[in-house]
Subunit: 143 residues, 2 copies
DNA sequence: CGCTGTTTGACAATCATTCTCAATCGAGCG
DNA sequence: CGCTCGATTGAGAATGATTGTCAAACAGCG
């Protein structure tokens, strides 16, 4: 929660080529940390050009993907297929997203986890993973 | 299950502008009926040009979207954001998809339905909907 | 300082999807 | 039938997100 601290950017990808914590990579991480809902790569890019830390669009995409790989951020797709990103907790969870303002809440559901693996096994599927998002209208957007 | 019978294309969209069952619209519906896994719009288009019933790409997209609107087909997105479509049962369900060959199984989970609405209500979200897909490697693709 | 592998970013290239719009179709009508 | 008019089609252009290119800028190191 301390801005960039603990984001683990300094040690992204414990395997492979250890990424170097450059100015632009930090900037992207900070931008993500400064908002609490999902944003598109272009949003982040705009946000950074508006501020005093311009970062090339290509770099924003590269960094975002690296962060997703590293499990530092969650990525999901809007109705029309655009990728949106959000800084999330490291543990497995799902999202309750406001369809109107984008307010996001992380939720956990052991029952769901159990159910999906059970169903998959039941049908002989292995290496199971799943994607679950809940959409609705949040309290503030209601009235 | 009887090829095109009961696909409801003849009465798509009971509201709005009642769509006319044209040659190309029927062709797309049949193409979808002939496969049992998810296919991209381009796949359908190729499939139709290969056969003796060419249908313009734009029309394929238009028809597919119409069918989705009408709730006749399910659409979901691949990892890289491409839209894929599948003829499905009318009732609410989820998908267990083979990551390798695409084999799809429709599954139901009352528990999940209950959980999502409960969680949403708990956080003051209304007009709740959700998206859940399960991915894995099917039995045949295992060995 | 020079050397070398990494990172960047302006710009071009991809690619799925949508838009345009003139040509074609088809159901109802005289 | 043959005509009319809105619905439909499709070739090709346009859009827009994402990725690829590659030369220039950088960073750690001897
Ligand atoms: Zn809201
Ligand atoms: Zn889960
Ligand atoms: Zn389905
Ligand atoms: Zn399979």
């Amino acid at each position: 929660m301390t801005s960039t601290e603990g984001m683990g950017l300094e040690r992204v990808s414990t395997e492979r080529t250890p990424l170097r914590p450059t100015r632009q990579r930090t900037a992207v991480a900070e931008a993500l940390a400064s908002v609490d809902d999902f944003r598109s790569a272009q949003d982040i890019h705009d946000l950074l050009s508006r501020a005093a830390t311009p970062v090339g669009l290509a770099t924003v995409y590269r960094t975002l993907n690296a962060l997703v790989e590293a499990g530092e951020v969650d990525m999901l797709r809007t109705e029309d297929g655009e990728a949106i990103y959000r800084r999330c907790s490291e543990t497995h969870h799902h999202h309750l997203v406001c369809r109107s303002c984008g307010a996001t809440i992380e939720v956990e559901g052991p029952a769901v986890e159990r159910w999906t693996t059970a169903i998959a096994a039941e049908h002989g599927y292995s290496e199971v993973s799943h994607a679950l998002e809940i959409f609705g209208t949040c309290g503030s957007c209601q009235r």
